[in-house]
């Protein structure tokens, strides 16, 4: 069957999301008021007509399982195909104890699943990327160019430090894959999204397994730059890789910019997420709210500025919220003052408390804490 199959990697890699990933994978970190980070890549796949998606799991994936469920919210609960969660049980080498050392090792762990893929091509993606990309165009470009591998990258080098860069020739072929790189001027930043045929993927997985190679970057992109036709697809729309808490905070706050919001929430390519049942948000006569992204189910009786409120947040009278991100069901009691605070789910801020973070180092309050 022609077409694309999605594989999303959600396993532990080094990240600095601090308290936000104490109990969850980066993939299921709440983002943009009502989503989890994985929703963006997953929705991009679904919107491109992809019907089968495998999520390779390792680590603390309880919260991600809970979020994805049967895949119904993404229209991926199907009789054939749909969403498949791939926990590490099948990976005998390490008994599922040690984290994967790289994509190739992760793929080797799900080799039998890959054999059963019904589609001719596979798109590999990480789950720390905020993007709304028309993947069918990337796929078409892959077919048209006759490439062995197509890598999605961006000319904007304004991203986290620990990312892969590409050097391209005049025709868009990737000549060099670089990591780490201190001065990325003139290079393209990889968005860690790759399209290749199922056949080639299986060949590469087998080859890497027998040579004990784990890294897609090292064993494929670098080692095969000469023998395989590895081409770029330059995506200059919005794309944000969330590796650190600073990335998280800055990229969240960027959503208050209408041009960025329009790109990420494209009406023809909606971002799907797990539904919750909340009534509309109520703003009380005492409440003021400006320059905010506000999900449903909130009650605003205090002052909220330049902030992102997730579903079910309540801000009582006299409370002042500035430049904050308050996740699901956070309750801020009377006269509390919060500046540059990221409050995880179900946090309770008692009356008259004052909490101040800094833009470069926002204060994070872990899930369920009472301050």
């Amino acid at each position: 069957m022609k077409g694309l199959h999605g594989i999303i990697f959600s396993y532990e890699k080094h990240n600095s999301l601090r308290e936000l990933t104490a109990n969850r994978m980066p993939a299921s970190v709440p983002f943009a008021g009502r989503y989890r980070i994985i929703d963006f890549v997953l929705s991009s796949m679904v919107n491109a007509g992809i019907t089968d998606v495998g999520v390779v799991l390792h680590g603390n994936y309880q919260s991600l399982l809970d979020h994805l469920g049967s895949g119904k919210d993404w229209d991926l609960s199907r009789k054939h195909g749909g969403l498949r969660l791939l926990p590490p049980f099948s990976y005998e080498e390490t008994g599922g104890v040690r984290a994967f050392r790289g994509k190739m090792e992760a793929l080797a762990g799900v080799r039998s699943y890959l054999e059963g893929v019904r589609q001719s091509h596979v798109v590999l993606a990480d789950s720390d990327l905020i993007v709304n990309i028309p993947l069918q165009e990337v796929y078409q470009a892959h077919l048209d160019s006759g490439a062995d591998i197509t890598a999605v990258c961006t000319s904007s080098v304004d991203g986290p430090d620990d990312v892969t860069y590409f050097r391209l020739d005049g025709e868009g072929r990737i000549t060099e894959t670089l990591y780490p790189l201190n001065d990325p001027t003139g290079c393209y930043r990889s968005l860690e999204m790759y399209i290749l045929s199922k056949e080639l993927l299986l060949e590469l997985v087998d080859e890497c397994m027998s040579h004990d190679l784990c890294s897609f970057r090292g064993a494929v992109l670098q080692a095969k730059a000469g023998s395989l036709n590895i081409r770029s697809f330059v995506w200059d729309g919005y794309a944000a890789q969330i590796h650190t808490l600073k990335d998280y905070y800055v990229r969240s706050m960027e959503l208050l910019d209408p041009t960025i919001r329009r790109e990420i929430f494209h009406p023809q390519r909606p971002i799907h997420t797990k539904e919750r049942n909340d009534a509309s948000t109520y703003v009380d006569p005492n409440g003021t709210c400006c320059n905010c992204l506000v999900a449903d189910g909130c009650t605003i009786e205090g002052t909220v500025e330049n902030s992102i409120l997730f579903r079910g947040v309540s801000v009582e009278k006299g409370a002042e919220i500035k430049n904050c991100i308050l996740m699901q069901d956070t309750a801020v009691h009377r006269d509390a003052v919060l500046h540059q605070v990221v409050a995880d789910k179900n946090v309770e801020i008692m009356a008259s408390r004052t909490l101040m973070g800094h833009e470069g180092y926002p204060m994070v309050i872990s899930k369920g804490s009472k301050v």
């Binding site: 208050l256 049942n277 009534a279 948000t281 409440g287 189910g297 992102i308």
Partner: protein, 403 residues
């Protein structure tokens, strides 16, 4: 498979007193309260009450309602056994099928559906009421009383009693007399149009009512009086929560305003959730120049203007310098720069162009000439245009008069 209790939801009415708002949809599909449609209330009540089999009787313009209900998944009514079923009128052999002639006839025509589940009790519901109610408690009371029919009633002020169907009861809340809109009410217990019947009994009365050519095949006019006259045990079930029939433009507007004040109808209170099917839209954005006061906003809203005492449904936009007061904006409405909307209901996807003015406050004009302004779904208001209070426009921008 046998069920103890199923629900039948009467959703076929045109809702003619909602005029332009029901020009393309059945009344139960009319949006309410920012996120909902009217039918979400009875459907969610069923689910929350543990009723997992619901027949929805449709007749008038059902397309949008049918696609909204779909598999019933948002209400947890997509079940292996039971679940929600759309029941339109259908043909029978010898070209004998007919439209539903009345509320009782609608159930009569679907006796076969009810019999498939062989229930002890059937709950009859309407698709035009806003309320949160535990039907299980009512069924329990029905069982305990050994009644043939239990009718839920609401105490209304005596002065208003003559507007309702009134149930006169004895000391044990047995119904002794039913008065339809009486001049001299014998009680202030108004029927809410919610009935629990013992199915065997109801079935008998439906069959005999159908055989009577003089009958208008209506629960209120025929079935209930017939049962009373025959001496069946009929019990009133007192309900004391919020309940409103939103069959008129004024009551629909009132109910939306009631929801804002979060008194008896608090939708943010989550012990009895109301479910809805919603498009995937991002959180609401409240801009730098926005002022939102005593209002609700819903996902997909973009607000840069002034919004006071209003209900904004998903995807509504209020641009900078625009003002919305005491109004209900249904999904996808846009109010452009500098436009003013007051005391109005704007149907889905209405566009109010820059500088236009729609509706006005009761103080702004002669009290007799005042009323809620209503724009039918898809109505476009030109730049600078003035739509007076109490005016109603359809999508072709023609004025429609209430009767």
């Amino acid at each position: 498979m046998k069920k103890e209790c199923i629900a039948m939801l009467l959703a076929g009415g045109q809702g003619s007193r909602l005029y332009v708002l029901t020009s393309d949809v059945a009344k139960p599909a009319v949006p309410f309260g920012g996120k909902y449609r009217i039918i979400d209330f009875p459907l969610s009540n069923c689910t929350n009450s543990g009723i997992d089999t619901v027949g929805v009787l449709t007749q008038y313009k059902p397309l949008e309602l049918n696609s909204y209900i779909g598999s019933g998944q948002p209400w947890d009514l997509d079940r292996l056994d039971g679940g929600v079923h759309i029941l339109p009128p259908y043909m029978v052999e010898g070209d004998k099928g007919s439209w539903f002639k009345g509320t009782a006839n609608a159930i009569y025509q679907n006796i076969g559906f009810v019999d498939m589940y062989d229930p002890e009790y059937v709950v009859i519901l309407s698709g035009d009421h806003i309320y949160k109610m535990n039907y299980a408690k009512m069924v329990e009371a029905h069982k305990k009383a050994g009644a043939a029919c239990t009718i839920s009633v609401l105490e209304v002020p005596w002065a208003e009693a003559s507007r309702f169907g009134i149930m006169a009861v004895d000391g044990e809340d047995n119904i002794v007399e039913f008065q339809e809109k009486p001049k001299e009410p014998k009680s202030n217990l108004a029927s809410m149009g919610i009935y629990v019947f013992t199915w065997k009994k109801l079935r008998e009365y439906l069959v005999s009512d159908e055989a009577d050519p003089a009958s208008s095949n209506d629960f209120g006019k025929n079935i209930i009086p017939n049962m009373l006259n025959a001496g069946e045990k009929m019990v009133a079930y007192r309900f004391d929560g919020y309940w409103k029939d939103v069959g008129t433009l004024e009551s629909l507007w009132d109910a939306n305003m009631d929801m804002l004040s979060r008194g008896d109808l608090d939708l943010l209170e989550d012990s009895w959730p109301i479910y809805a099917r919603l498009p995937a839209e991002p959180p609401a954005f409240i801009g730098k120049s926005a002022l939102v006061d005593h209002s609700v906003v819903t996902q997909g809203c973009e607000i840069s203007g002034k919004v006071m005492n209003s209900v904004l449904s998903h995807g509504a936009r209020v641009e900078e310098g625009a003002e919305v007061q005491y109004s209900v904006l249904m999904p996808g409405v846009t109010v452009k720069r500098g436009a003013v909307v007051r005391y109005a209901i704007l149907g889905e996807n209405c566009q109010v162009a820059a500088g236009a003015s729609v509706g006005g406050s009761p103080e702004s004009c002669d009290p007799d000439a005042w009323g809620i302004t209503v724009l039918g779904p898809g109505t476009n208001i030109e730049p600078g245009e003035v739509v007076a209070p109490k005016t109603m426009l359809n999508r072709d921008h023609k004025e429609v008069h209430t009767k």
